[in-house]
Subunit: 341 residues, 2 copies
DNA sequence: ATATATAGGTATAACGTTAAACCTATAAAA
DNA sequence: TTTTATAGGTTTAACGTTATACCTATATAT
């Protein structure tokens, strides 16, 4: 079933059918509109988007891009689509795009050229980058391509890129202060934050909370592991085996906190009796651990639909009100923090 | 950059360039091939897939379809892309398709017509249905469309559909027998298995294990809740508040087992001291619970790549060796089962 | 010497849609 | 009455690619 078939059955030209489909009703009489619509629904006709892409210079395809992470630095799972942080956003993005007539194509990329090739191959309308620290891969790419792109958790300053993130400094401030108000003073910060702007901001929030309570910053309380499950396990065992009297830890990802519970237990500590742990993100598995993970929520569902909506706004109205959106953060109290006197 | 541009630069016709790109080297001299390839790489030219779709009657697009689940029966999360069972397969499918030159388009669908519309809109080459019990939505659809489709965990008998599943009966047999060998005799089966072929098979495995050990089947040990997180919570509280002396439970999904840990604890039971629980699937969050979940693994990564490969095989070579593949199952011993004497 | 095959191309039309320009009959304005 | 708008169309070309048929010069077989 093509436009031609519909046109033939209706006894009109293809352009008339095309105009009806595209809602240009001032060009077609009411009776013709009705007649054509009847034939369209009877035959379940839908326009061929490939043909449309060809003339329209717009494909309605949005690339959802996730980096290929080297095996050694996996975030626990073979690909990032398995990562609950990514997963929690993926569904909302799909929904938002679908409801607005866009089509999400998912893709793991290892190299810049992978991205360029995908964009050119499909004449992609826009892209959402679904994981932090794309910056290295992307920085020089941005100059080569001028598609609307939304970066989730990036810190790119490039005007072609829209950013969605959360208030990282505040989040970690809340997290650290939460431990302090529960009596903790020896608080570990878990993340290899150096050279990572997002994590550096969180580090600043950690320090501000300490300062606010006149707790001296102790660099040996900073444990530089990647904010992954494996990184968390290492951090947990490190703390358990060290002589440093740490009683609480703030992490920069729930999955890392979850790994940390595991690692600390392997080292003989009880959670939270011997070590209080606070996560970051509020992914679903926070509810699966025992104790349930106290964490900083950044409302991932909202973040995801904001990302998709921002992209759509940019695609439909050329001007964009804002180029950067931060979702708010707030503490979610659960069971992984204990009072100490 | 189009074929025309490349052709102009090389001083040949577009067909010659097209033949080079498509590897029809017997039609082009070696020197011309080299010259054209140089120009192609210099300009980072890639063919426009929309244009190809139009002539080729093949789009290279594979739809990855997940059902929209009503809010009341959610599997814990707003959409199924957030479900770890789906997530663990999604990444592997993406990888397999990508490596074979296909493009995965993700889509939640609520109605049959959604699927048909998507297929027609993009002239989709094939589809993978990523969640069990699509059957109702799909059954009549199958007659309307003759695209290669792979159903994961479906039991469709239709020859147009290829099925990937696991040995459900054996899986639940292993699971139940595992509890029996650990001394359990009052074993609950958690699932609203009636009218669900997949769950019915698992129920048969449960019964076979009981019979093998001469344990009488007791229908009050069957707790009919959906195999979801919420269903698991209900099942857990049900067991905790009942007078039935259940000591172990087999579930048909890890996410249900995880909910059950929660529900049973809410009811005052200790896991596994008062209640041993066995999961099914072996998703990542099995490692996040305390105790870690003993479960039946069905090797989801392998299942996913098998699904994608089966589809690709069908698309490239018209004949398919097999229409149904079962991945093997095996027990994964962790900590959620305790011996009773 | 003639017929035939082959290597290495080219020209044309088609895929399904839409933008742009054009046509024509009637209605409204001058 | 003549001019001008407008409503309701149609025609043509183009988007980027490929299938098909065709061309021509040389090499090979008879």
């Amino acid at each position: 079933m093509t436009l031609k078939d519909i046109a033939a059955e209706a006894g009109v030209s293809t352009m008339t059918v095309s105009n009806v489909i595209n809602g240009k009703h001032n060009r077609v009489s009411k009776s013709t509109v009705e007649k054509i619509n009847k034939i369209i629904t009877k035959n379940n006709y839908v326009p061929n988007q490939s043909a449309r892409s060809l003339t329209a210079k717009s494909s309605k395809i949005i690339a959802l891009i996730v980096p290929v992470i080297e095996k050694t630095a996996t975030t626990h799972g073979t690909t990032l689509f398995e990562n609950p942080y990514v997963g929690s956003m993926l569904g909302e993005i799909e929904r938002t795009l679908r409801e607005n007539g866009y089509y999400p194509m998912i893709r793991s990329v290892a190299k810049q050229t992978d991205i360029l090739t995908l964009f050119h191959t499909w004449n992609v309308d826009g892209a959402i980058f679904l994981y932090p620290s794309f910056d290295e891969i992307i920085d020089s790419l941005i100059e080569q391509i001028s598609l609307p792109m939304v970066f989730i958790d990036s810190s790119s300053q490039n005007p072609n890129v829209m950013n969605i993130g959360c208030d990282n400094e505040k989040g970690m401030f809340l997290s650290t202060r939460y431990l302090i108000t529960h009596g903790h003073r020896n608080i570990a910060f878990i993340a290899d934050y150096k050279n990572n702007p997002l994590l550096e901001q969180r580090f600043l929030g950690y320090k501000r909370a300490l300062e606010e309570s006149k707790i001296a910053f102790n660099s040996s309380f900073v444990i530089e592991n990647s904010p992954t499950y494996e990184g968390g396990i290492k951090a947990g065992t490190t703390i358990a085996s060290s002589k440093i009297p740490i009683t609480g830890a703030v992490t920069t990802a729930d999955i890392c906190a979850i790994g940390m519970i595991e690692g600390a237990r392997l080292g003989g500590m009880r959670i939270p009796a011997d070590l209080s742990i606070v996560g970051f993100d509020d992914i679903l598995p926070c509810l699966y651990t025992s104790p349930k993970l106290t964490t900083v929520s950044q409302n991932l569902h909202k973040k995801a639909s904001l990302a998709a909506n921002l992209l759509i706004e940019r695609l439909t109205t050329k001007k964009v009100k804002q180029n950067k959106i931060l979702v708010d953060v707030n503490m979610i109290e659960r069971q992984s923090v204990i009072d100490i006197e």
